[in-house]
C-alpha cells in the first residue's frame, strides 16, 4: 500500500517536472499577459520613459473605466471597427465559398490533381509581408500588372490603393489568395471524412447530385465549417501586417483596422492604457462573435 502511494506520488511529481518547460512559457508569456492587459486597461494611460532610453514603463495608478470611456468616445475606434467589418464581409464569405468549391474540385480523381492542390496551397507559406509587397507591385497605379491588363482592354487604370473604397478590397483579395489553399485542405479533410455509403444509399433512392449535396455534404460539413469560420474570424480580427506595409492605414483612415489602431495607439502615440482597453474590447468582440457563430451553425446543422 505504502509502495503504491509512493509510486503514485512519484509519477505525479515526474509528470509536473516534464510539463514544466511548456507550462512556464505558457504562464509567463500567454496567461500572465492576458491578465496584465486587463489590469493595465484600468491604469493611467501615460507611460514613463525609463532613463531616456525610449523604453517605457507604466505607472501603477488606477483610473477606473476612464480608458474605456476614452476609447468609446474615439471616432477612429468606431471607424476601425467598421473597416475591420468591411474586410470581414468580403474576406470571410468568399474564402469560405472558394475553399469549399476548390475542395470539391480536388476531391475528384484525375491526373495532376495533387500538383494543382500544391500550387493553390503555395501562397499560404509565403509571409504576409512578402505577399503584401507582391500585391503592391501588382496593383501599382502606373507600372502594375492589373492596370496594365485593364489598359490593354481599353479600360482606364485605377488608383487601387489610393482609393478609399478600393484599398480594403485589395487587401481582402490578397488575404483570400494567400489563405484559400489552406481552407481548401480543411474542407477536403471534411469531405473525405463523409462515408461513401451515404452517397451510395442516396443514389439508390434516386437522389440527384443537388439532393446529395444539400442533404449529405452540407450538413456533414457543418462541424468543419465551424472550425473554419472561427479561424477565418480570427484572421479577420488580426489584419495588421497587410495594413502596416500596403497602406499605413490610409487613404483617409479607410484601412485602419482594430489591431492597426491598437499598434498605433501604443507605439506611435504611447497611450498604453487606452491601447490595452481597445485590445480587451477586441477580445470581447471576438469571443461574442465566435459564440454566436457556433450557435447559428450548430442549429442549422441539426435542422438539416
Amino acid at each position: 500500500m505504502k509502495m503504491k502511494m509512493k509510486m503514485k506520488v512519484r509519477t505525479i511529481v515526474s509528470g509536473y517536472i516534464i510539463l514544466l518547460p511548456a507550462l512556464i512559457v505558457m504562464l509567463m508569456f500567454n496567461f500572465y499577459p492576458v491578465i496584465w492587459s486587463f489590469l493595465v486597461s484600468f491604469k493611467e494611460t501615460k507611460a514613463i520613459d525609463i532613463k531616456n532610453s525610449a523604453l517605457y514603463e507604466i505607472p501603477g495608478v488606477f483610473v477606473g473605466i476612464e480608458n474605456y470611456q476614452k476609447v468609446l468616445d474615439n471616432d477612429l475606434f468606431f471607424k476601425s471597427i467598421v473597416n475591420t467589418g468591411y474586410f470581414a464581409i468580403i474576406f470571410i464569405p468568399f474564402t469560405l465559398l472558394f475553399s469549399l468549391l476548390l475542395a470539391i474540385y480536388v476531391n475528384q480523381k484525375f491526373k495532376g490533381v495533387n500538383f494543382f492542390r500544391t500550387i493553390i496551397f503555395v501562397p499560404y507559406i509565403i509571409s504576409v509581408i512578402s505577399s503584401s509587397l507582391i500585391f503592391m507591385t501588382l496593383f501599382n497605379t502606373e507600372a502594375g500588372f492589373v492596370n496594365a491588363t485593364l489598359e490593354f482592354f481599353g479600360i482606364q487604370g485605377i488608383s487601387w490603393l489610393g482609393d478609399e473604397r478600393l484599398a480594403m478590397p485589395v487587401i481582402a483579395l490578397m488575404s483570400i489568395w494567400r489563405r484559400v489553399g489552406y481552407f481548401m485542405l480543411l474542407y477536403l479533410a471534411g469531405l473525405q471524412n463523409i462515408p461513401k455509403s451515404l452517397y451510395e444509399a442516396a443514389q439508390i433512392d434516386g437522389a440527384n447530385w443537388l439532393d446529395k449535396f444539400r442533404n449529405i455534404t452540407i450538413p456533414l460539413l457543418s462541424k468543419i465549417t465551424i472550425v473554419i469560420m472561427v479561424l477565418l474570424l480570427r484572421d479577420a480580427l488580426t489584419i495588421f501586417q497587410e495594413v502596416f506595409v500596403m497602406t499605413g492605414g490610409g487613404p483617409g483612415n479607410s484601412t485602419v483596422t482594430v489591431p492597426f489602431l491598437i499598434y498605433q495607439e501604443a507605439f506611435s502615440y504611447l497611450r498604453f492604457g487606452t491601447a490595452a482597453a481597445m485590445s480587451y474590447i477586441l477580445f470581447v468582440i471576438a469571443v461574442i462573435v465566435i459564440l454566436v457563430q457556433n450557435k447559428i451553425i450548430m442549429r442549422k446543422g441539426k435542422v438539416e
Binding site: L19, P21, M26, I119, I120, S130, F244, I262
Partner: protein, 274 residues
C-alpha cells in the same frame, strides 16, 4: 464521351486557376530581374527585357539582407526545436498521465487560441523590456518556445498511441523519463514532422512581435527588414526589395516542396480531429 468532356472541363479549370494563382508570383519574379528604369516604365513590360541578376547580390550584401537572413535562420530554427521539445513533453503528460489539474491546464492552453494577438502585444513588450531582452534575438525566441497549437496537436496525436505499448515498455524497465525518447518520440514522428514544418513556416514569416521587440537594423529578421525597406522613401530600391523577397520565400518553398506530403496530411488530420 461524357467522361472525356468532363476531363477536358477539369483541365480547363485547372489551367485557368493555376495561371490566376501564379500571376502574383510571376510578377514578383519578373520584377526582381528588371532594371530600375524598366521597373518604373509605363506601361510595364510583361517580361524583363534585360535580365539583371545583380539585383540579388546587391540586395544580399549592400542592403544587408544576408544579416537578416542569418537572424531569421537563428530565430526560426531555435524556436522550432524548442517547440518540438516543449510540445512533445507537454503533449505526453496531458495525454497519458493523470496529474491533478491536468484537464484544467489543457483547457486553459486551448483557450489561449482565441486570444487575439493584439492583446499580447503590449504586455510582451513591457515584459521583454523588464527582462532586459529588448532588441535581442532571445526576445523573439523564448516567449515563443511553447505554443498552444503545438501542445494541443501533439496531445491529440499521442492520444492515439495505445496505452498497452507504454505499459509494455514500463514492464521492460523503461523509467518515467525514458518513456519519451524510447516510446513516444519514435511513435509520433509524423506528428513531429508536421509540427516542425508548421512552426518553421510560422516563425520564418513572423512579423508583428519582431516589429515591437527589435529596434536595431542588425537584429532585424527578414520580414521586418523587407517591411522597413519598403516603407523607406527611396523608390529606387524596389527591384532589390523584390529580389530579397524571392530569396526570403525560397527556404520555406524548398522545405514545403520537400515535405508537402507531411504538411498536407498534418493539416488535414488536424482538421478532422480538432
Amino acid at each position: 464521351m461524357k467522361k472525356n468532356s468532363k476531363m477536358i472541363f477539369n483541365y480547363v479549370i485547372m489551367f485557368g486557376l493555376i495561371s490566376l494563382f501564379l500571376i502574383p508570383l510571376y510578377w514578383l519574379l519578373a520584377g526582381s530581374f528588371k532594371s530600375n528604369f524598366e521597373f518604373n516604365l509605363v506601361p510595364p513590360t510583361m517580361f524583363p527585357e534585360e535580365i539583371i541578376f545583380g539585383n540579388y547580390s546587391t540586395a544580399w550584401t549592400q542592403l544587408g539582407f544576408n544579416q537578416a537572413f542569418q537572424n531569421s535562420m537563428i530565430v526560426t530554427i531555435s524556436t522550432t526545436v524548442l517547440n518540438m521539445i516543449t510540445g512533445t513533453l507537454a503533449g505526453f503528460i496531458l495525454s497519458k498521465k493523470k496529474i491533478p489539474g491536468g484537464k484544467i491546464i489543457l483547457a486553459l492552453i486551448v483557450s489561449v487560441l482565441i486570444v487575439p494577438p493584439a492583446v499580447l502585444l503590449l504586455p510582451l513588450y513591457f515584459m521583454i523590456v523588464k527582462l532586459g531582452l529588448y532588441d535581442t534575438l532571445s526576445a523573439i525566441i523564448f516567449p515563443f518556445a511553447a505554443n498552444a497549437f503545438t501542445i494541443f496537436f501533439m496531445k491529440q496525436y499521442i492520444d492515439d498511441i495505445p496505452n498497452d505499448l507504454i505499459e509494455a515498455a514500463r514492464i521492460d524497465g523503461v523509467g518515467e523519463f525514458g518513456l519519451i525518447p524510447k516510446v513516444i518520440v519514435p511513435l509520433s514522428t509524423p506528428a513531429l514532422v508536421t509540427v516542425a514544418l508548421i512552426n518553421f513556416v510560422g516563425n520564418w514569416n513572423a512579423f508583428t512581435m519582431p516589429l515591437v521587440l527589435l529596434r536595431s537594423n542588425e537584429k532585424f529578421t527578414l520580414p521586418l527588414k523587407q517591411a522597413k525597406m519598403a516603407n523607406a522613401t527611396d523608390v529606387n530600391q524596389w527591384t532589390l526589395i523584390l529580389a530579397a523577397t524571392v530569396l526570403s520565400i525560397l527556404p520555406v518553398l524548398v522545405i514545403f516542396i520537400g515535405s508537402q506530403r507531411y504538411f498536407v496530411k498534418g493539416i488535414m488530420e488536424g482538421a478532422v480531429k480538432g
